[in-house]
């Protein structure tokens, strides 16, 4: 059913793939690789949020809590039990998903502002726990020394993921897998039901959609991927603290989703990359940074909720219809 990609499209895709695969050589310094890795972490985060905000219409503004839970789970498993990244990635996602499931039991029966405020307050409570349960989390000092793994498979060359270039490829692989799975979810019948939930919940119910089940699936799966992103982040920076629960992270994710275009998955990917690079480029104007970003978000939400992808689509359809006229 999908149209065969045009030559231009193929060229574009090859170019992007090339840039992604050869980035460490193209990019040069460790600092830019750092930005690239952070972009990939946020790609996973933004797309996971899109499942909720874009596809299901569930405005969960405590999303960063699941990112943080995943990071803490990974850190604690690594530091106390020596479980390497391969295990903590799944564990981080699983822990976050489990917490989301329990929370969902309590709050997924409400909508509107109550749902929103509960998720926000939940994230704040998460922060309080991380901050005060010092015997577990070290409180504000945080947990440090979370190392990336070293791959010692006999017959293959030794890969040390402590090197930034190696970690970049790891992050690229994880992000690609996550986004692919998320795409599969939203393009499946489950995804259609999420859209039904977003558009008109009562109507969906009337049509036989089990909205409680769908919203739970959306909530839990998005939390899972946020947790995976958290684990990826923890092993990269080697250090995590209760700051990960701050609302500012959710704000960043929201901007990425809306900038790229909500409800598209590819939109948040673009938004994540763009919005990781942008703050670093604007690092110098710290005073105006947040003012500019919030203004951008405001304008996007009000005037262009479909973001860059929507803009691109509109341009493309205008171009396509113009072409059609010319053909005739």
């Amino acid at each position: 059913m999908k149209p065969y990609p045009t030559p231009l499209n193929l060229l574009l895709r090859t170019a992007i793939a090339g840039v992604l695969l050869f980035a460490p050589w193209l990019v040069g310094t460790d600092y830019y690789l750092h930005i690239a890795i952070m972009s990939l972490v946020f790609v996973i985060l933004a797309t996971s949020l899109d499942i909720l905000v874009g596809y299901s219409g569930l405005l969960s503004l405590g999303h960063t809590a699941f990112f943080a839970f995943g990071a803490y789970a990974a850190a604690l498993l690594y530091l106390h039990f020596g479980i390497p990244l391969w295990g903590t990635l799944f564990a981080g996602g699983a822990v976050a998903a489990l917490i989301a499931w329990v929370l969902g039991l309590l709050i997924l029966n409400v909508r509107g502002h109550r749902f929103v405020i509960t998720t926000v307050v939940f994230a704040e409570c998460g922060r309080l726990v991380a901050y005060n349960w010092t015997s577990l989390t070290n409180g504000q000092i945080g947990l440090s020394g979370i190392r990336p793994p070293v791959l010692d498979i006999p017959g293959l060359p030794r890969i040390d993921f402590n090197s930034r270039a190696a970690y970049y490829y790891l992050a690229l692989a994880v992000a690609t897998i996550c986004v692919t799975i998320i795409l599969r979810i939203v393009q499946s019948p489950i995804g259609w039901r999420m859209l039904a939930l977003r558009e008109n919940e009562r109507l969906a119910e009337a049509n036989g959609v089990n909205t409680r089940q769908i919203s739970t699936i959306a909530f839990v799966s998005s939390a899972f991927f946020a947790g995976v992103a958290g684990a990826l982040y923890a092993h990269y920076t080697g250090f995590i603290s209760p700051d990960l629960f701050y609302f500012s992270y959710t704000t960043t994710m929201l901007i990425m989703v809306f900038l790229g275009g909500k409800g598209t998955i590819i939109g948040p990917v673009i938004g994540a990359v763009a919005f990781t690079i942008l703050p670093e480029a604007l690092r110098v104007t710290a005073d105006f940074r947040l003012m500019t970003f919030s203004l951008i978000l405001l304008l996007l939400v009000v005037f262009a909720p479909d973001g860059l992808v929507g803009l691109f689509d509109r341009l493309r359809s205008r171009h396509a219809s113009a072409r059609k006229v010319a053909d005739a």
Partner: protein, 286 residues
């Protein structure tokens, strides 16, 4: 347990500030159906205007208080006429996100204009500590209590006996019918928004005299206001007041057991309400 009155009094003072902010939010949210996540910034702006007028410009406290509230009401009117008019038909998600963005913008604007350093609004009272019945307090905190009581009475009287008050109640209950009867919905919305903003600003000035004024105070206020509104229900002012006092008292007593988790009290209360009385303790969607 001779300290219980002290804990109660502490909780009441804080609860009054929550109530004032929440009542303003109820007016806006309940009447206009817009979840204004920037509401706490009116509280912040009220405090900063008062700081600027009394400390920098040099007005006396009471003039500064009135001028600040009026100033924020003006800001509210401008915002209502522009942004909030656009948001009127919008989905809940859009209005929440847009107002969140507005909130962050206002907070950082204040940060830029006045700086991060916490400021104090100069108090008009000479005495520091007051004691009665073994309870310690300050004149500023008593003022907060008295003003809240006065506002509550004024609101009740206003809603029941004035023309505008009746119009508000009518529109609250049945928007289309009210319009049909000839009530100017646009003007009413602007007025309500202004009142809501003004109440928040008043709380800001009073609290800014008790504690400190800083740009970050708005975000916290918004959060508390929405918790209170969730507790008390969206469509009655009584709910906002009761919810505010409940939250204040809850936090004060929660501090006895686990001071670090004081702010989690709100979460626990919200969870309880959502589980057992999802429409809030007082309210029902009209």
């Amino acid at each position: 347990m001779e300290f219980i009155p002290q804990y109660i009094f502490n909780g009441l003072v804080v609860g009054c500030s929550y109530a004032l902010i929440a009542v303003g939010l109820t007016a806006i949210f309940g009447l206009m159906q817009i979840a204004n996540f920037a509401h706490g910034q009116f509280y912040m702006l009220g405090a900063f205007f008062a700081y600027w007028l009394t400390r920098i410009v040099g007005l006396d406290y009471w003039t500064g208080l009135v001028a600040s509230v009026l100033g924020v009401m003006l800001v509210g009117v401008v915002l209502e006429r522009t942004l909030f008019r656009i948001l009127r038909g919008a989905s809940l998600s859009s209005s929440i996100l847009a107002t969140i963005a507005l909130s962050i913008f206002l907070e950082n604007l204040a940060l830029y204009v006045w700086g991060a350093r916490p400021q104090k609004i100069v108090t008009p009272f000479k005495t520091g500590s007051l004691e009665f019945l073994g309870i310690f307090t300050t004149p500023e905190r008593l003022l907060m209590l008295l003003v809240t009581i006065a506002i509550v009475i004024l609101l009740q009287l206003g809603l029941r006996y004035t023309q505008t008050g009746k119009a508000i109640r009518a529109t609250f209950q049945q928007r289309e019918a009210a319009a049909l009867v000839g009530i100017d919905i646009d003007r009413l919305y602007t007025l309500t928004f202004a009142i809501g903003a003004g109440l928040a600003a008043l709380a800001g000035v009073l609290l800014g005299t008790i504690f400190v004024v800083q740009p970050a105070m708005g975000g916290v206020a918004t959060l508390k206001a929405f918790v209170v509104v969730t507790l008390g229900g969206i469509s009655s002012f009584a709910g906002g007041i009761a919810g505010g006092l409940l939250l204040g008292l809850g936090e004060s007593f929660g501090a006895i057991i686990a001071p670090a988790y004081k702010d989690a009290v709100g979460f626990i209360l919200v969870m309880l309400v959502l589980l057992y009385k999802p429409d809030g303790l007082f309210g029902k969607w009209s």
